[in-house]
């Protein structure tokens, strides 16, 4: 297979991509607010601190080892010679960023990865909300930032074998969102459902989020962050010109908007009311889904991607909870894994240029499900065997704010309906 070369960046493209990268923390703030708002009030401070903590952990681990294994196109890498072809499978950089020219534009992919790994690390917090220990979140993030994320990031972005096949994932629908979403699925399986979520007959009960305003504010921030994520990713990994940033911003916004409206229409038709938290999830799902092909699809295709992503979120959330007993308070599995996989799939046939690399997209999806999911589950399962990840029963009853932090997020907040003691 042909080695992947690093795109030649003009000064304008490089400066613009740096500006875009600096917007990515807004996406992290948005996701953190959404996770906090969709959780219970007695875990709000814990949720926000967990988000900050996992970003810190991810950044340090990525600095230490992750960046070396991720690498970037044109840099040293290990390749397997199979059937007369070289399969580039992992970066061969030096640990602790040694040997990387931090004073030049060539380190932009590393900076993008540093921001992206923090975003990916926040996603599982939505799945494990209300019951995941603080220390366990950080330990799980070490595995994500040190192994799972860099491995797939190298394959898709770092000149690895998926990139050699023509796999397209400009904004990280697979590398960031699906990797984070599949880790969230593994965490929900390992932790089990929250106490009181399912009755003895297995029927789920509604445990609504405590603050819809936080959730919706998070959507605004996520929008801003995604404009940066998609713009920078497209320039750095797809090699598009800086002028394509307009198309990318249009696609990103149209997909998010059509996904949110799709959810609003479906929930209105099915339940008689528009569901605010599901609309918020739909908005983010639209952002996630278009990330893969933001630079290669036309605006009409972005609308289709968003409409389908919104519908997928509604039915996926319901299916996971009602039929598969997956307790995912933040909707991370549906929003990030399901919508991300849809976005990767759609980026092939809906690509405006050429027939589209849809076989490579299918191979990427198969890799995420067949390699990354078992890997992240296995690593977190082992971690859980060494040190249980779920908080003690008393912690869940008392709330993680008091139990792990010693103080609540809302000291004057009165509890009128203690859902833990209802059954």
């Amino acid at each position: 297979m042909t080695p992947v070369r690093a795109p030649a960046l003009s000064e304008t493209s490089a400066a613009l991509s740096l500006l875009f990268i600096l917007l990515i923390p807004c996406a992290a703030a948005g996701l953190a607010l959404i996770n906090a708002g969709l959780g219970r009030f007695r875990n709000a401070a814990h949720s926000m601190l967990s988000a900050l903590g996992v970003i810190a952990t991810a950044a340090l681990v990525y600095f230490a080892i992750g960046a070396a294994w991720q690498g970037s196109a044109g840099q040293p890498a290990f390749a397997l010679h199979v059937a007369g072809q070289d399969w580039n499978w992992i970066g061969a950089g030096r640990f602790f960023l040694r040997g990387l020219e931090l004073g030049g534009w060539s380190s932009l992919p590393m900076l993008f990865g540093l921001m992206g790994v923090g975003l990916a690390a926040i996603i599982p917090l939505g799945g494990g909300a209300d019951r995941w220990r603080l220390g366990a979140c950080f330990a799980s993030t070490v595995l994500l930032a040190g192994w799972t994320f860099p491995l797939f990031a190298h394959w898709a972005w770092g000149g690895g074998w998926l990139a050699q096949l023509g796999f397209v994932d400009s904004g990280g629908a697979g590398v960031i969102q699906v990797v984070g979403g599949l880790t969230a699925l593994s965490i929900t399986w390992i932790l089990g459902p929250r106490r009181g979520k399912f009755s003895s007959e297995g029927m789920p009960s509604a445990l609504p989020g405590h603050n819809a305003v936080l959730v919706l504010l998070g959507c605004f921030l996520a929008w801003l962050g995604w404009l940066g994520l998609d713009g920078a990713g497209a320039i750095l990994f797809t090699g598009v010109e800086a002028s394509r940033a307009v198309l990318i911003a249009v696609n990103t916004t149209l997909s998010a908007g059509s996904a949110a409206l799709s959810v609003a229409a479906i929930t209105r038709a099915r339940f008689g009311k528009t569901d605010a938290s599901l609309c918020a999830n739909g908005w983010v799902a639209g952002l996630v889904a278009v990330s893969a092909g933001c630079a290669v699809v036309r605006p009409a295709a972005a609308v289709i991607i968003g409409l389908v992503a919104g519908a997928l979120v509604v039915y996926s959330v319901e299916w996971l909870e009602l039929h598969l007993a997956v307790d995912d308070p933040g909707g991370s599995v549906s929003v990030h894994a399901v919508a991300g996989l849809w976005g990767l799939l759609a980026a092939g046939p809906l690509a405006a240029v050429g027939p589209g690399p849809w076989l490579a997209q299918l191979v990427g999806i198969a890799t995420l499900l067949g390699c990354i999911l078992p890997l992240t589950y296995g690593l977190n399962w082992l971690l859980n065997r060494v040190s249980p990840q779920r908080v003690a029963v008393e912690g869940e009853r008392q709330g993680l704010d008091l139990y792990e932090l010693g103080a609540g997020a809302y000291p004057d907040f009165m509890t009128h309906n203690e859902d833990f003691w209802q059954r």
Binding site: W87, W189, F198, A325, V326, V363, L369, G370, L373
Partner: protein
């Protein structure tokens, strides 16, 4: 059941890799990739079911 499910997931991925390495690009390669995705879907179903049963027993 859980282990079988994960083995099927990994097996599906190995089929994909084998198809990309051994087969010439064309219909046969596409067929094998689609077949592998079917194997992975079966594995995912088993893993979901495996997590469903102990969960209900625990409750």
């Amino acid at each position: 059941m859980k282990l079988t499910g994960f083995l099927l997931l990994a097996g599906g991925w190995i089929i994909v890799l084998a198809a990309m390495v051994l087969l010439p690009s064309g219909a046969s390669q596409i067929s094998f990739v689609l077949l592998a995705l079917g194997v992975e879907a079966l594995g995912l179903t088993l893993v979901f079911r495996a997590h469903l049963i102990p969960g209900r027993e625990r409750r």
